[in-house]
Symmetry: C2
Subunit: 372 residues, 2 copies
């Protein structure tokens, strides 16, 4: 009835003994292979299992079948709310398939990340989801191109050339959408604020998108606009608030009475900006702010911050589907994902050597911070 009623967990042998059949029969019962099983033994097995509170040992199962029904995920910084949303999405898919999730936090340290991946593989996971901290491209590439690696899918990151499936935000399009919005709201200058991208693909991609946009609109990067279009620049800092404050003040001051919009690369940078310039509120109208950030947070921050929400739950669901297609599905990841994902706007944005890049669209939410 209830597990643990005895001294120790009963094993399949115990059940077999109780019923008076062999372990094989029990095994077959468990796997639903009762095509050729007498209804009587079936019933007796059923009650015996209930009686003893027997539950199969997944570990032992995995030892034999070489599939553990576990997948591993390494998260660059699990303390980040963004991470937990992605985990939520991953869980949704895994729960449906009764697959366990092994979670590791890399604490933003490439060495820890490598150790985590090794440890997960030692635990015999069937596949890996990697939200890399950056700086491990060589290692990851070597892994993916090595012998016969367990499937890996990258999350909110990718390496070039692609050596495995990846799930990311449509960073380029999203950035353009935000810049268009900023321009439309009459700002004349945009400052893309980002921490230095130590190998984090998302940061560099967004930065490049900004630079290309500005170049394409006849505005000079880090220079003044000379034709009434949107000018802009990229501000890279290292996490020092004082440094950031001084540089922001300089940038804003330089623009005189022109309307400037600060565009933060992520929530972390957005917080840094708010910390550095609490007086932003005082200059409403002249200084706007926006960011890649979770709508749930941005909406209630300060006066309400215009943001690009990356839909992390959807990203998690997508990455889990992509991985499962490689591990057990056997089928085409592309079909599996696009079928349901199309409605959400998920597309294959690139492919290389059979590896796909799935892009999940970011959603623009407009709030007061760019509307005065």
């Amino acid at each position: 009835m209830k597990r643990d009623s005895g001294r120790k967990q009963p094993s399949m042998g115990d059940v077999a003994a109780a019923v008076g059949v062999s372990k094989t029969t029990i095994s077959r019962y468990l796997h639903g292979e009762y095509g050729y099983m007498s209804d009587e033994t079936k019933a007796r097995i059923e009650t015996a299992i209930k009686e003893l509170g027997y539950r199969p040992n997944r570990m032992a199962q995995g030892l034999k079948s070489t599939v553990s029904n576990m997948v591993g995920v390494t998260i660059a910084d699990i303390g980040n709310p963004f991470s937990s949303q992605m985990l939520k999405g991953i869980q949704q898919e895994l729960r449906a398939r009764d697959i366990q999730l092994l979670v590791s936090d890399s604490n933003n340290d490439p060495a820890i990340e490598r150790a985590n991946i090794e440890a997960l593989l030692d635990a015999q996971v069937d596949g890996l989801i990697v939200n890399t901290v950056g700086g491990n491209d060589a290692y990851l590439t070597a892994y993916c191109t090595g012998g016969e690696p367990k499937p890996m899918v990258m999350l909110d990151r990718f390496v070039r050339p692609m050596v495995c499936d990846c799930v990311a935000t449509n960073n380029h399009e999203a950035t353009v959408e935000m810049l268009d919005h900023v321009a439309a709201r009459g700002f004349s200058h945009v400052v893309f604020v980002t921490r230095s991208d130590r190998g984090v693909s998302t940061r560099s991609i967004r930065r490049e998108a900004v630079e290309r946009y500005l170049a394409g609109h006849g505005a000079s990067v880090n220079g003044a606009s000379d034709d009434g279009g949107l000018s802009g620049e990229v501000l890279v800092y290292d996490g020092g608030i004082d440094d950031l404050r001084a540089r922001l003040a300089a940038v804003v001051g330089e623009r005189g009475a022109g309307r400037v919009c600060l565009f933060a690369n992520n929530e972390e940078s957005m917080r840094d900006v708010m910390e550095a310039m609490p007086e932003l509120d005082g200059e409403r109208g002249r200084i706007g702010v926006c960011a890649f950030a979770d709508e749930r947070w941005a909406r209630y921050s300060g006066e309400g911050i215009t943001c690009l929400d990356q839909q992390p739950v959807l990203m998690g669901r997508t990455v889990a589907k992509a991985l499962l297609a490689r591990t057990c599905g056997g089928g085409d990841a592309e079909d599996a994902i696009l079928e349901e994902g199309a409605a959400d706007g998920i597309v294959v944005a690139a492919r290389n050597d059979g590896h796909l890049l799935f892009e999940v669209p970011a959603q623009l939410h407009i709030h007061a911070s760019t509307m005065r």
Copy 2:
């Protein structure tokens, strides 16, 4: 050199064959039992392992040794940023001991939680950390008092009577501290805003703390203060924003010109309040707000919200320590935790039948929302 260079993962037998010794010797080498081993074989084993890229299969190890070096955690709602912070803390401790973490999300559903716990046990975890969704008290109690259960520790929750170790916030003291602050700032009425506590211990505990405080200060709960002290009431809602809006308006209106402070039970409720009354900003000075909430969020929300931060990372570290003390440490959980935890203000707040309740202090952060 690198793993996977061959067709398949090499096993201990392969290494043994390569070196020309028995598996036993390899096993001993791996466990550091080279007390009686010739330096030569030791060296040869070492190189063979490197050469083949051999790594022990934790799954197979666990099958025999009955310790899997995995612990499981079920989280009520992993999408909550609070959850991810707790996971961070848990990871910090587990990583140090090379223990893997199996994570399940219960999605606020008691049935899923039960299924998750069963699944984790099937995966042979050595112990469980449970952040219960509530409504599973009977099940959890039965588990803990059953045969010989794997150790369980509850996180940010507890059941009465205590049937296992628990780690929670010092909800009572924290609530009192906040109410003292509210009173000191000259508010005359406080409204504790909470969703209905469907078996979630933290919610009911806080609510009780509020009621007791108000009763103890000569003020009547849900009534007007008649002696200049702090009066107050508890507002329980069900997640409907319109309902909440109407009731908040009524409550605030009733107070006339009196200064009212809304005290939200958690971030979720705080967001609901902000959604229901965006005009709070317009009444700064007369209407204050505060909440149990993450400082990183509260600080930048609206004008800056006074909050009680639960230090979730520290809670995570504490719960992991408590569990490890039961699983492998063999030692006293109390000593293990209090030794380092004392500096952080962690105390044993209750004990029952050998089970301990560890309380992690919440920290009061004062911001503009209660200061005008």
